[in-house]
């Protein structure tokens, strides 16, 4: 069943049009990757999905309901959560305060403080640290946990691998199986196409704000991805 649906969406970043006529769907329990080069409009598209930026044209539906004009906080309470690019933890709060804040307006669901500590056991050790004192990998664990604690139906992840060591990225991605088991849908925005492909069921490739490729991750060829990613036409 389709959970999140974008129809012909145009989103603007200030006065600049970032996406053109983007249509995509995310099914319940599915992981969808959105890949594309810098400036392809991926992050702006995610902002539209959670209502931080209103799209100028088109429709967004969540579980069949039109949420195009819904405010961000209301969308969040209907089950959309964001792991933002650059983590964006509340730096003057401790790790646990970050997590407690996420629980305050959470929907009912499987994720509890205990569950996210089980998911990232290392987090227990720095729970009382200030968020600004953490390493990038530690911050990413907190950012994912914070989003999960709202018990989302769809989890939007923006550039999880940005600025992290490859080993840390692998650890972060390894936890996704555990998250998927709870039936949550995931939207992964990535520049790292290899990782995005292996972690997802389907993928969309954006080029200059347009969907250039929509395919099943298991069957798409690297050549097709490269072509859509760079906009090369073979001669």
């Amino acid at each position: 069943m389709t959970l999140l649906e974008l129809e012909h969406v145009d989103v603007f970043y200030r006065d600049l049009q970032a996406t053109f006529d983007v249509s995509l769907t995310v099914d319940e329990g599915e992981t969808v990757a959105i890949i594309g080069a810098n400036g392809a409009g991926k992050s702006t598209l995610l902002r539209a999905m959670i209502g931080l930026t209103q799209c100028r044209n088109g429709r967004i539906r969540l579980a069949g309901e039109d949420v195009t004009r819904l405010r961000c906080d209301l969308l969040a309470r209907r089950g959309v959560a964001l792991v933002p690019e650059g983590r964006r933890l509340f730096s003057s709060l401790t790790v646990e305060e970050n997590l407690l804040l996420a629980m305050a307006r959470a929907r009912k669901g499987p994720w509890t403080l205990q569950r996210v500590y089980d998911l990232f056991p290392a987090m227990k050790e720095f729970r009382s640290h200030r968020a600004s004192d953490l390493s990038g990998g530690q911050q990413q664990m907190v950012a994912i946990s914070r989003a999960l604690l709202t018990n989302p139906r769809v989890l939007l992840c923006d550039e999880l691998s940005l600025g992290l060591a490859p080993k840390v990225i692998s650890e972060i991605y390894a936890c996704f199986d555990g998250i998927r088991k709870e039936g949550v849908s995931i939207v992964l925005v990535e520049q790292d196409t290899v990782r995005a492909r292996s972690a997802s069921d389907r993928l969309y490739c954006l080029l200059k704000g347009k969907v250039r490729l929509a395919a099943k991750s298991s069957t798409v060829t690297p050549e097709a991805i490269r072509e859509a990613y760079f906009g090369e036409t073979r001669t």
């Binding site: 906080d73 969040a76 509340f90 305060e97 804040l101 305050a104 307006r105 709202t150």
Partner: protein, 290 residues
């Protein structure tokens, strides 16, 4: 001639100055709003309290609570009706709007209450004193100081122990992410402004009980608030409190030395601190050697 009573009295006024600064810093820290009408709300607290005392004859604690409720509603309304429409990267619109509001409130007070300088009379408590360290101190200033300390402690508990307090701090860090966690930004802001105005208005009422006020006192109170914030820092409760105490003590010692000096010495001390903060003394020293 001992300065001890002067210092003690300065500390007790200073607690209220700290609250003035806290209210201003609260609005600025969370919402980046510089509330120029802050001083007028402080004075408004005094007028509302005085009217309630004379009309209803309720006891002082009840009046304080009533003033808190009324001014919280005013702050809430200010944010909801006016300032929430102006939030954004540019702080100037809100500044100009609150400056306009300050003129409106000031003149409305003149129109309604008249321009004369008043003091609130709360009866026999005003004249009672106790002996501390061999000097006589009024009971009322001590009670007022304790209320100020209590409000600081309550704010500390609010900010560190409750969801609302965490939301305030988080909004100061990154309001967009707070929204993605399901918090209504405008409502958080409205509560924050309500609290900021309440703190200042209660402090304004308490100050009016132990000194005088007029519709024009707001400018002076705003200046003190700014000084407290700049000396004490924006994100720090303790900083605001200590800065308030410092200004209170300096001002009263100045008045003791020269009864005609008014708030001069407090402002002078602030000016010196500002110079010292700007001067970066070690850097000067190094430059001279190079």
């Amino acid at each position: 001639m001992s300065f001890l009573p002067t210092i003690l009295n300065g500390l007790m006024v200073g607690g209220l100055y700290g609250l003035f600064g806290l209210g201003l810093a609260f609005a600025f820290g969370i919402m980046r709003i510089v509330n120029i009408a802050h001083g007028e709300f402080i004075v408004l607290g005094a007028y509302i309290g005085a009217s309630l005392l004379s009309v209803t004859h309720l006891p002082l604690p009840a009046v304080i609570v009533l003033v808190a409720v009324i001014t919280f509603a005013l702050g809430w309304a200010l944010q909801t009706v006016m300032l929430n429409r102006m939030i954004g990267p540019n702080p100037v619109p809100a500044m100009v709007a609150t400056m306009g509001l300050s003129i409106i409130i000031r003149n409305a007070l003149v129109e309604y209450y008249g321009a004369d300088i008043r003091a609130i009379d709360i009866g026999p408590l005003q004249d009672q004193g106790v002996s501390i360290f061999g000097t006589s101190i009024g009971v009322l200033p001590i009670i007022i100081f304790l209320i100020a300390v209590l409000l600081f402690v309550l704010m500390h508990i609010l900010l560190t122990r409750t969801t609302l307090g965490r939301a305030f701090r988080a909004a100061a860090d990154d309001f967009e992410i707070l929204e993605t966690l399901g918090f209504n930004r405008k409502r958080v802001y409205a509560i924050a402004m309500g609290l900021a105005v309440t703190l200042s208005a209660i402090a304004g009422l308490l100050l009016a009980i132990r000194s005088s006020y007029s519709p024009y006192s707001g400018v002076e109170r705003l200046l003190i608030s700014f000084e407290v914030v700049i000396i004490g820092g924006i994100g720090s409760l303790r900083g605001s409190f200590l800065a308030g105490l410092f200004l209170g003590v300096v001002q009263l010692i100045g008045l003791r030395i020269n009864p005609n000096s008014g708030p001069l010495f407090g402002h002078l001390a602030f000016f010196l601190i500002l110079l010292a903060k700007q001067a970066n003394l070690p850097a000067l020293f190094i430059r001279r050697r190079a």
